[in-house]
């Protein structure tokens, strides 16, 4: 039995010694050792699948206008980078604008709803209607009604993305510990103080959960809306490039555009996960590792 001194000098009595210890894990390239399998395993699977794909395409002599191999797709990505990067930029711009709008409107409405039961009663059902109506079905309508194409795409992506934020934030704002609410009442805290110091922080894990879902949905919404708008010939994002390549039988380019959409989705997921971890890792159960 060795004596360990983890507690600062003030520790005395018995209860301090039972405090949980959070040891720093060894890091390789700035990433904790136990995280490496999470990163390496999927990469390994990816390399295997791509290798197999390339091999099947070559072995069976499948022409690239039917089913291109990964190498041809990579070549196309480099060759057509100018066109594709422009399209990527347009799609990402709409995705992020929609996500920002979803966050602002979702959080603002959630706060309003928790302040007034009447507002929630009268408006929440309409938020549900927006959510359950398939965006493909209303996209043509929105594209006709909105003068500007970009604006109509933005509206479509926003409709898809905003509900998870709204519903999760409402849940989070209402999930503050009841005794803490009593405590705030005891100290005469006003609404704003209770919101600022209690409800908003308490809702953060829920909001971030909603953000993770909405990030992906904003991209999906933007792409779906582009498809609808693209079939009318009036868009220039990645989905439009996919449609266009399909018509022109430029199948490798179609795959390259698809790859960019997937990578964007993964990047958005990683970014929201990283943000969530940054904001929660010191205090929330979901972000803490259990020692078994």
């Amino acid at each position: 039995m060795s004596e360990t001194t983890l507690a600062p000098a003030a520790a005395r009595g018995t209860d301090q010694e039972t405090a949980p210890v959070f040891a720093e894990e060894a890091r390789i390239l700035g990433i904790a050792r136990s995280r490496w399998p999470d990163i390496l395993a999927p990469i390994l699977v990816g390399i295997l699948i791509i290798g197999l794909w390339e091999w099947v395409v070559r072995y069976k002599n499948i022409p690239s206008y039917l089913f291109p191999g990964p190498l041809v797709i990579a070549q196309t990505l480099v060759q057509d980078w100018h066109t594709l990067s422009g399209a990527l930029w347009i799609t990402l711009r709409i995705t992020f604008a929609a996500l920002i709008a979803a966050v602002s409107v979702g959080v603002a409405l959630a706060i309003l709803f928790t302040q007034s039961k009447w507002l929630e009663r009268s408006l929440f059902p309409y938020a549900v209607i927006l959510q359950v109506t398939p965006v493909v079905a209303i996209a043509p309508l929105i594209i006709i009604l909105a003068e500007d194409v970009n604006l109509s795409l933005l509206i479509c992506a926003w409709i898809v993305a905003f509900f998870p934020i709204l519903s999760n934030t409402i849940l989070g704002l209402n999930s503050a510990d009841h005794n803490l609410v009593s405590l705030f009442q005891l100290y005469g805290a006003n609404r704003w103080q209770t919101m600022r110091y209690l409800r908003l922080p308490a809702s953060l894990p829920y909001f971030l959960g909603g953000l993770k879902i909405s990030g992906g949905l904003a991209l999906i919404g933007a792409v779906v809306a582009e498809f609808v708008a693209g079939s009318g010939g009036s868009a220039s994002g990645l989905a439009y490039r996919i449609l266009e390549s399909g018509y022109q039988l430029k199948i490798p380019r179609m795959f390259a555009a698809l790859l960019l959409i997937s990578l964007s989705g993964i990047a958005i997921f990683l970014a929201t996960s990283w943000l969530s971890h940054r904001l929660l890792h010191r205090w929330h159960e979901s972000a803490l590792k259990r020692e078994s």
Binding site: A9, A10, D15, L186, Y197, P201
Partner: protein, 271 residues
């Protein structure tokens, strides 16, 4: 209906004006449960009172009523001994509340948890931090200012909770079974520290518990309550001198008082 059953009533205290005076207090919940019936209780400045009773006797309800978190169905709570009062007739900054759970903000560091009541009163940050740091030192948590609640043990979290309740220097500290979830060793330590704080700051302590031993060790006066409906059954005066320590805990006098307490509690449970 309070029945003094003690080993010597302190007449000096009875003559003083009480700090809080509870008269004919009843509380009926919306589901029809009568949580409290016709409770009379005086709290004097700087005394240590325990509310002892089985679960469901309305001890916690009584605390919530005194702290104005809940409104009585009948009866009154007055603060005749208060020097200054706010709009609701309650002396300002006068209450501290410790819940059964530590009830800390999980996203805030220890120091920020303790400064919370001061920040809500719009005290400036530097002064609030200084007072909170002093309070943390007093409860034995110097050096843990930057720790998050997650990183503290159960006993330490409760110390933070007590520090937060005392940082406003309240006249009355209400505690709702604060140590019930802790192990016995930690509980004894916290009992001793609580008495130390009480003797130092001279607040009025109201301590809800269902442990006879804890109530006898801590209090000057034990109010025994019965359940269904919640009511005051009897009172027990514990006139052992302070400071109390392990010597008191093992003395025949303590054992005797615990027996009296247990009998009173048994009567309340059987009633």
């Amino acid at each position: 209906m309070a029945l003094a059953q003690g080993t010597g009533v302190d007449t000096g205290r009875a003559a003083r004006k009480p700090l809080v005076s509870v008269r004919g207090l009843s509380k009926k919940f919306s589901n029809g449960t009568l949580a409290l019936r016709d409770v009379d209780l005086d709290l004097h400045a700087s005394e240590f009172v325990s509310l002892l009773g089985p679960s469901g006797c309305g001890k916690s309800t009584l605390l919530r009523l005194i702290s104005d978190l809940s409104q009585p169905s009948a009866g009154s709570i007055d603060w005749p001994g208060a020097a200054s009062a706010d709009a609701r007739g309650r002396p300002e900054h006068s209450l501290g509340f410790v819940f059964q759970e530590p009830t800390l903000l999980p996203w805030a560091q220890t120091l920020d948890n303790v400064t919370l009541p001061l920040r809500l009163k719009k005290m400036n940050r530097t002064e609030a931090d200084q007072r909170a740091a002093a309070m943390l030192e007093l409860v034995g948590l110097k050096g843990f200012e930057k720790s998050y609640p997650r990183e503290l043990s159960g006993g330490m979290k409760m110390r933070v909770s007590i520090a937060r309740a005392l940082v406003t220097e309240p006249k009355v500290l209400l505690m709702d079974e604060p140590f019930a979830a802790l192990d016995e060793i930690t509980r004894h330590k916290l009992n001793d520290d609580l008495l130390m704080l009480w003797q130092r700051n001279r607040f009025t302590a109201v301590f809800v518990t269902h442990s006879v031993f804890e109530s006898v060790y801590l209090s000057e006066r034990i109010v025994v309550m019965a359940a269904r409906p919640g009511r005051v059954m009897s009172e027990l005066i514990v006139d052992a001198p302070f400071p109390r320590d392990n010597l008191f805990r093992t003395s025949p006098e303590y054992a005797h008082l615990c027996r009296l307490g247990s009998e009173a509690l048994k009567k309340a449970i059987d009633a």
